[in-house]
Symmetry: C2
Subunit: 170 residues, 2 copies
């Protein structure tokens, strides 16, 4: 068991119980259309290229936006398993996730306006390696699926405010 990480989690929980304002965080990213479909993304000190495959006119220098959504879900499941296993004192040797997401591109390409442009369905296979009891692993799974941020973001609506500015000098 990772005692140091368990202390980090316990300390964060105590801080949030003592002062709820400290729990309210804002994440920021920025990006720019550097090429035809290539988006150059800045996330704190991390840089990332998101692009489209050559088959639809991109330069394939990075994953596409919808693939990045799947990647975020897989990693968020894994990280949430690690955090909750540590907090609950349950042994966890490994977690890996395989994801599939179905899109009907008649939506994006405006061929059928009744078809949604995003994923119709996502399927995840989450593989857990652990010597813990089945009872403990089922408790862990239920705790993870109740608290995984990206799972919540995908399964439930997120209000998105769009402020579109034309030819601002800023």
């Amino acid at each position: 068991m990772d005692g140091e990480l368990k202390d980090v989690i316990t300390n964060v929980q105590q801080m949030y119980r003592a002062d709820a304002e400290k729990s309210k965080l804002t994440f920021k990213t920025s990006s720019n259309l550097g090429g035809r479909f290539r988006s150059d993304v800045q996330i704190r000190e991390h840089e990332m290229i998101i692009d489209e495959p050559a088959s639809i006119g991109g330069t394939d220098l990075g994953p596409s936006p919808v693939e990045v959504i799947l990647a975020a879900l897989g990693s968020c499941q894994e990280i949430t398993y690690r955090a909750y296993a540590t907090a609950m004192g349950i042994e966890l040797d490994n977690v890996s996730v395989i994801l599939e997401g179905d899109i009907d591109f008649r939506g994006f390409f405006a061929v059928d306006e009744s078809v949604r442009p995003g994923f119709n369905k996502i399927r995840a296979r989450v593989a857990i390696q652990s010597n813990a009891s089945l009872t403990d692993l089922e408790k862990l799974r239920d705790a993870v699926n109740g608290h995984c941020p990206v799972l919540d973001i995908l399964r439930n609506p997120v209000p998105v405010e769009l402020d579109v500015v034309f030819n601002s000098s800023k």
Copy 2:
């Protein structure tokens, strides 16, 4: 105007009108918890590291899952602007996006079960550079916001099927 890209878009639309089955695509990713919170992601030939900041016990070798969600939205907006501007014959010099997403971490840390673990709200500032008329730019904006896959994925629920497997040899 990018005539080659316009032809790609027109050809894809004609293919989907002729055979709707061709429009149904499945995207795949896989990932593995390589470190404490570090997730090693494979997306076709693209590799990506998703991690957590040191403040909550990570090694900060990459952006966090929720930051990656914001990045996907920004790039998807930009790519959808490029695609629709080209298809609609509207000049587009540049698009950039700044995103903010608010999370109350009492949700993830199980301090208050009434708080959702994901984003409460996302704010996007989308800056368009173009010499097109305001009327055209407003048409473009409305077309983009009606067809941007990641915007749809965030604003509307996506069914996620989770198959959790304990100690499978596969």
